[in-house]
């Protein structure tokens, strides 16, 4: 299967009066149809910015360079009108706080109708309702939800409604931006399971943005690890999580306790994110890395192939393609 989304050299810079913050730098990756990509990293690592850039939902002052080929079109250079055509139809996003994404003064039905009619202005109420019922069933909600107001529902239900809305127009690419983070363990588990179940019938590609490695481990097949706006490691989940090549991935993994297996002492990564408004000559992770050498601080490591589908940006992997 061919690539559905290819991102090349994506740079996103937030500009305000006093400084330029390079929130995403030189991000390149591609995902195939039917893939589920998890983007993990700490807060401030640029994972949400990356997604917002793909949907062109960033503030006007933002500077974006690079290329994001989706379905043969460059998402970053097409006109706003063309982009609007793609939103909801081909690309859909679910945000962390569905409670804030829905209007509190309208019934779910009104909001679904609004969104449906943006792309099919002539659709009748019954037609929309039929589609909505189908989707509500898909996310395990009773039909009565259609007539409710957001405040009458719990967070988990709202999140399900948001997922249902994102599916209205059969999008090809779904982006979940921390969509289950604010939920309870049980609800999160249920929704993740429903998403997996749903994908068996729908042919969608999914990008899952989260800080929780365990969510990626259970629901994705590919993973991209981001740090300070740069891609640190990319590859198949099973490969990356069993044998992380990049010290940052290793560090992230060490800070998660295992549920049932052996539990060595949890380790944290000392230090802080670098100031993204300054240009960093070497590896962005070098100041916090235990393996950093002089070279790491001076030169930026290139993305190096580490396995069949895996890449990592670390000098440790260069010249030693077979791993450590």
């Amino acid at each position: 299967m061919g690539a559905i989304l290819t991102v090349k050299d994506l740079n996103v810079t937030y500009i305000n009066k006093t400084r330029r913050v390079m929130a995403v730098r030189r991000a390149s990756f591609s995902i195939d149809k039917g893939d589920s990509l998890g983007i993990v990293g700490e807060s401030g690592s640029g994972k949400s910015t990356l997604a917002m850039a793909l949907l062109r939902l960033h503030p006007k002052s933002t500077e974006i360079t690079g290329e994001a080929l989706f379905d043969g079109k460059d998402l970053l250079s097409i006109s706003e009108a063309e982009m609007n055509e793609l939103r909801w139809m081909k690309l859909a996003v679910v945000f962390q706080k569905a409670m804030n994404a829905l209007s509190p003064v309208h019934r779910i039905s009104t909001q679904i109708e609004d969104i449906y009619r943006v792309h099919c202005p002539s659709a009748s109420g019954e037609e929309i309702q039929e589609r909505a019922m189908e989707l509500l069933k898909l996310v395990n909600l009773p039909p009565r939800v259609y007539r409710l107001y957001p405040h009458e529902m719990s967070g988990g239900m709202l999140q399900r409604v948001a997922i249902a809305i994102s599916l209205l127009h059969h999008p090809q690419l779904l982006i979940f931006d921390e969509a289950t983070t604010a939920l309870d363990v049980v609800t999160q588990g249920q929704i993740l399971r429903e998403i997996l179940e749903m994908e068996k019938t729908l042919e969608t590609t999914r990008i899952m943005i989260t800080h929780d490695m365990s969510v990626v481990a259970t629901t994705c097949n590919k993973v991209a690890v981001m740090y300070a706006g740069e891609l640190m490691e990319f590859g198949m989940v099973k490969d990356v999580l069993t044998r992380p090549r990049h010290p940052y991935t290793q560090g992230l993994q060490d800070s998660f306790p295992s549920l049932k297996g052996e539990n060595p002492k949890l380790l944290s990564i000392p230090g802080f994110l670098p100031d993204l408004s300054k240009d960093i000559p070497g590896c962005v992770f070098a100041p916090r890395c235990a393996h950093a050498t002089e070279r790491c601080r001076r030169e930026k490591p290139p993305m190096t192939k580490t396995s069949e589908a895996g890449q990592a940006a670390c000098w440790l992997c260069v010249g030693d393609e077979n791993g450590k």
């Binding site: 807060s43 363990v185 049980v186 999160q188 365990s214 481990a217 099973k238 999580l241 802080f272």
Partner: protein, 332 residues
């Protein structure tokens, strides 16, 4: 009956909030409804032990924490510290109680006065409890504590305001502040859920050290099961204000008996992509605990429930060691 190692004894704590049904006046004899946030919790905690409390949101775990530090008075029941009723300690010597029992809150950004510097914030409890001779000595104490907690340079941190520090740093200061008083009993209410993964480990390890070195009892309230298993010696699983399972951390997680615990664990995402998981799902969300019962509170959502489960609340079944579960479907 009196056990020497028994440091904290929680005896049948109940906390009911009157249910707001919109009526101002009630007929005489009309039964008032209550939200039973905590409904008869009994536990014991030893010195140096970390007890993890897990459950869904709304199961009463935070209310339990607030009762333990007496931010709220229980409707009935009592907590005994070294065999003395906290109610009595509070009446006779509230200062001593506050010194001995500390709480760490979830959101470090809300725990500090935004208008004061860290130095002022840290000095306040020291002054209040007369620790240290003068300000100079107290500042010195703050510096040593901050440096021991990995916050360097301490002088710089002391002169800052809370908004100038990161969540991880603030949470560490919050723990340091409560450690100053050498408390015997600490309640940590979701202390790391607001923090980034890379700094979580530090806070957790700090709490473990605190329990081990100062021989303090720690109640760790969290919804993160993997983390709770890592930090705790024992785990109590709560559902709608009651404890449904209790035991050593490994036993509860590796050999869960109560259907709720099993569902909770099976829903927990694991970091290991190859881990085999039991596929258990429980429908819906926890109901509000307004006059639940008479049967097992979990029965309406339980995949193992029989008719008997709806009739009366099950008895506690003791399993091996201290492990017990409250379910009528468990054999033996």
């Amino acid at each position: 009956m009196e056990n020497k190692t028994e440091f904290i004894k929680i005896q049948d704590i109940q906390k009911f909030y009157p249910y707001k049904d919109g009526k101002i006046f009630h007929k005489r004899g009309e039964e008032r409804k209550f939200v039973k946030a905590v409904d008869g919790v009994s536990l014991t905690i030893e010195r140096g032990e970390i007890l993890g409390v897990i459950g869904e949101s709304g199961c009463g775990k935070s209310t339990l924490g607030r009762i333990l530090v007496r931010l709220e008075a229980p409707t009935s029941g009592d907590v005994f510290l070294d065999g003395v009723s906290t109610e009595r300690i509070l009446r006779q010597d509230p200062k001593q109680f506050r010194r001995n029992v500390q709480i760490i809150f979830q959101n470090p950004f809300d725990t500090f006065t935004p208008r004061d510097t860290i130095q002022k914030i840290l000095l306040r409890p020291l002054k209040h409890h007369n620790i240290g001779r003068d300000t100079a000595e107290r500042v010195e104490m703050c510096k040593t504590a901050l440096e021991a907690g990995g916050l360097r340079p301490a002088e710089d941190i002391l002169s800052r305001y809370p908004h100038e520090l990161s969540g991880g740093q603030l949470q560490r200061i919050s723990i340091i502040r409560s450690m100053f008083l050498k408390p015997g009993f600490i309640i940590a209410d979701e202390p790391v859920s607001m923090l980034d993964v890379s700094v979580r480990a530090e806070i957790i390890n700090m709490l473990i050290d605190l329990a081990r070195n100062q021989n303090a009892a720690v109640v760790f309230i969290s919804h993160d099961i993997a983390l709770t298993r890592y930090i705790s010696d024992r785990i109590a699983v709560m559902y709608l204000g009651r404890i449904v399972e209790y035991g050593t951390a490994d036993e509860v997680i590796q050999n869960p008996q109560h259907p709720y615990t099993r569902a909770l664990i099976s829903n927990c995402a694991s970091i290991d992509p190859f881990e085999e998981r039991e596929e258990l799902s429980i429908g819906g969300e926890p109901p509000t605990p307004v006059n639940p019962g008479p049967g097992c509170y979990f029965a309406p959502r339980c995949y193992m429930a029989t008719e008997a489960c709806f009739k009366s609340y099950p008895q506690r079944r003791d399993l091996s060691g201290c492990h017990y579960a409250v379910c009528s479907r468990i054999e033996k």
